[in-house]
């Protein structure tokens, strides 16, 4: 699947979760830069799962630290 398309859709999805208005780039980290707690992470992951009809297990989430890694992982899962 197309990475740019994935990124564009996640860019839209993340907006309501980015309450602090942090500038988000490929290297932005969820825990450090965005300071999300585990409930916010769950809601955001659920939004992505519903958008792309995929499943991102907690085991997979543990490997995802940055925004760029998330886009890569979702792109890969869409292709699977």
């Amino acid at each position: 699947m197309d990475r740019d398309d994935t990124k564009a859709r996640i860019d839209t999805l993340i907006e309501p979760f980015n309450k602090k208005g942090v500038g988000i780039g490929e290297d932005t980290t969820f825990a450090g830069d965005l300071e999300w707690d585990s409930l916010t992470v769950m809601d955001f992951v659920a939004a992505i799962e519903d958008e792309f009809d995929i499943i991102i297990s907690m085991n997979q989430q543990a490997e995802i630290e940055t925004y760029g890694q998330l886009i890569d992982a979702v792109t890969k899962l869409r292709g699977a």
Binding site: D37, L39, M42, E49, I54, I55, S57, M58
Partner: protein
């Protein structure tokens, strides 16, 4: 299973300790500071309460004061039942203070078989396996039955022992929003074809005291060929026609593959168990590491548990009184203007929602000084980061005591200006 009020059930990322640190304890500095600040404000330590004397299932001397206990999960008040105590004393005399061995080596006494038989009868199920704690029951069963390539689908508000069971195993872990049937189904639907699936639910969720829509959720789980495990720790003994829990109450116990329970609530001692009708269940005794690599429960503990379980089979009057207590306390607190975790009483847990941690801690202390113990639960251990005063009722609370409890809540609530 006991609740840790300061530590979240879900695994949380640890704060970065910094690169210069050689002390492995540096990572705890933020928590140490938070705790110090709380105690420096003059508050009694909410997590350092000592029971100097226990007078009954519902009263104790705590920090020098006679106190009504409203946060013990001792739902059926079995801890001072004369027959239960007698059974424990006899077992101490006849079998000694401990087994010093694993269940699969020298640690299975006649009492362990007897308590498993009592559980089979209580639940009308074929197999029962007793663990040394409820925590280990979830840890052991979940980590053992869900292996690599399998999927565990679980409620986000699951107890720590469930999360830790997931962490100990190798399955893919997929949480869904609390009690959200639609969110659960979506996740089940997306699991790759052919993968093994385990859905983990709880009958009563202990933070807010709300129950799960098990009938609907189990029907969905079965539609996707998932096995179902239900933790009924907070419902055993008084929910359901025979006290078998929320699944029995909703008429779906036959569709539950594994029921997890504990001896440390209604049964009134310590220990955990899993009951099941799975034809191959007995193999768990050889493959479940938290069962194999732990010493078994002392003979006195299994003797008190077996006696208590058999008495709980025929405890209809106590059950009725416990429900009356829950309803009376719920209605009374609501009438005083407190915000509660559920609109109607759904279990013997009633959670009073505090406006913030500061006033919640002040209210907790004011209640303790009035002579009432409740559980203080605070972020990040709580759903939606709420601060809660969790009350759990006992069948041994008298109508008069429930009245006293309400008077204490009114006085403390006004003093702290919550109502």
């Amino acid at each position: 299973m006991s609740e840790s009020a300061a530590t979240p059930d879900r695994p949380q990322p640890m704060a970065d300790a910094g690169h210069n640190s050689q002390d492995l304890f540096s990572k705890f500095d933020p928590l140490i500071k938070q705790r110090k600040d709380l105690l420096d404000s003059g508050l009694e330590d909410p997590f350092g309460l000592v029971m100097e004397r226990v007078l009954s299932p519902v009263t104790a001397v705590c920090n020098g004061r006679e106190t009504i206990l409203l946060g013990t999960y001792n739902y059926m008040g079995m801890t001072f039942d004369p027959e239960v105590i007698e059974a424990g004393k006899n077992a101490l005399d006849d079998f000694g203070s401990g087994t010093t061995g694993s269940r699969v080596l020298n640690g299975t006494y006649v009492g362990h078989k007897e308590v498993e038989k009592a559980l089979c009868e209580f639940y009308a199920m074929d197999h029962a396996m007793v663990f040394s704690t409820g925590y280990q029951a979830n840890l052991g069963i979940i980590s053992t039955i869900a292996g690599k390539g399998d999927y565990i689908v679980l409620d986000i508000d699951s107890h720590a022992s469930i999360w830790d069971g997931c962490a100990l195993g190798n399955a893919e872990v997929v949480p869904f929003k609390h009690n959200d049937l639609d969110a659960m189904e979506k996740r089940l639907r997306r699991i790759p074809e052919g993968a093994g699936k385990l859905v983990v639910l709880e009958g009563v969720y202990s933070m807010l005291g709300d129950i799960a829509p098990l009938k609907e959720m189990i029907a969905v789980a079965k539609k996707y060929d998932a096995m179902v495990l239900v933790d009924e720790a907070h419902s055993m003994g008084f929910i359901g026609p025979n006290g078998r829990g929320v699944a029995e109450e909703q008429g779906v116990l036959d569709d539950v593959d594994f029921v997890i329970g504990t001896f440390s609530k209604s049964v009134g001692t310590v220990g955990g168990f899993c009951v099941s009708n799975h034809p191959k269940f007995e193999i768990m005794r050889l493959v479940c590491r938290p069962y194999v690599f732990t010493a078994s429960l002392p003979p006195s503990v299994v003797a008190t548990a077996a006696t208590s379980i058999r008495k709980l089979m025929d405890a209809g009057d106590k059950r009725t009184h416990l429900w009356e207590n829950s309803k009376r306390l719920h209605a009374g607190l609501k009438g005083l203007g407190f915000q509660l975790g559920t609109d109607e009483p759904q279990s013997a847990i009633i959670a009073v929602i505090m406006p913030d941690l500061e006033r919640g801690a002040a209210m907790w202390e004011a209640l303790l000084k009035e002579g009432l113990y409740v559980n203080l639960a605070r972020p990040p251990a709580t759903p939606a980061n709420m601060t809660l005063l969790r009350c759990s009722l006992c069948a041994e609370h008298s109508e008069e005591q429930v009245g006293q409890i309400l008077t204490m809540f009114e006085a403390a609530g006004k003093a702290v200006e919550i109502i």
